[in-house]
Symmetry: C2
């Protein structure tokens, strides 16, 4: 199916102005005044948007069909999570390179066999960025992890079927990780 085959029909809003309300090391909080003007109506509203760099997520699989997973403590939900590795695209970096870098930094694994699983919008209602998804097969352990300053990561190898079961029953629950699984399952069908 051709991507252009779906014809969007909704009227676009336009940005009247936007203001940076707050800045963090991870994202900026913008307030956007947006306007809808059509023949039928005029409307406007204030919307809040997080401006953030692109992200990547990698589904790494070993020659034994084990998935390389990262366990870490997540400050949003104040709980540990089990996820596939990922991170932030640095300025000037290509997402393909981010993916290889994050896999190596977070897990110590590398791969020569990469394929794209496409990209997903991180949250199109309130974030401006996309997350680029990858499948890396034939992953091999190369070196010790080199996590970022606040990253404490435990690496786990898990059979692919167990990984999918943990997604199905909710132990693995990060929406972007689960989205990567959808793209993987659809690719493998």
């Amino acid at each position: 199916m051709n991507k252009k085959s779906f014809q969007f029909t909704i009227e676009p809003w336009s940005v009247a102005y936007e203001n940076k309300e707050y800045q963090t090391p991870i994202f900026n909080l913008l307030q956007r005044k947006m306007i809808l003007e059509t023949e039928e109506e005029q409307n406007e509203g204030d919307f809040y948007v997080l401006q953030a760099p692109e992200w990547v997520n990698v589904m790494p699989v070993t020659p034994n069909r084990e998935v390389v997973l990262v366990e870490q403590y997540r400050y949003g939900i104040e709980q540990p999570t089990l996820e596939i590795p990922g991170g932030v695209v640095d300025p000037g970096e290509h997402p393909d390179d981010t993916a290889a870098r994050e896999l190596l930094e977070e897990t110590g694994y590398r791969s020569d066999r990469w394929s794209s699983l496409g990209k997903v919008s991180s949250n199109p209602a309130m974030m401006d960025n996309f997350t680029h998804l990858y499948l890396a097969t034939e992953c091999e352990y190369e070196q010790a992890q080199r996590p970022d300053e606040h990253e404490r990561i435990h690496v786990h190898l898990m059979p692919l079927d167990s990984f999918l079961e943990y997604v199905a029953e909710g132990t693995i629950h990060h929406s972007i990780v689960v989205a990567a699984v959808a793209k993987y399952l659809l690719k493998e069908r």
Copy 2:
């Protein structure tokens, strides 16, 4: 597989204090000072978290195996999107009721056949909420939409196979919508 069968081993951080930095109608921006204290190390850092109510997403399927989709303009990416319906759990509302309400409000469809697809963390690194996912089958058109003030929604019926193809090739790209597809595919296997 039992959910308790995965043993998390990572050390938990604790919140030293948190401060509400900014408030919007959709979320609060918190700054959290977090501390890690183990036998091996002491560490602390400032982290930014969006405090938001729970969300729901519904995958609605008609007796003809068509998915009921909503096309709307999304202010984060400044583009139209194609998504399954969803929304915010109101104070005191059960997510099951939110799901039925949002389906009816956004599309005019209702269903008597609901099942849970579990829940996903919206973004555990920087959001504190979860999104509850549902499958609603045998959906029937009941009444005109009643969207919220700024919602302009075009409803589309799409064969399930086309829906999955649009997810696979990226026309449908909201990470939480794609996550719902993973849960659906794993349930149907």
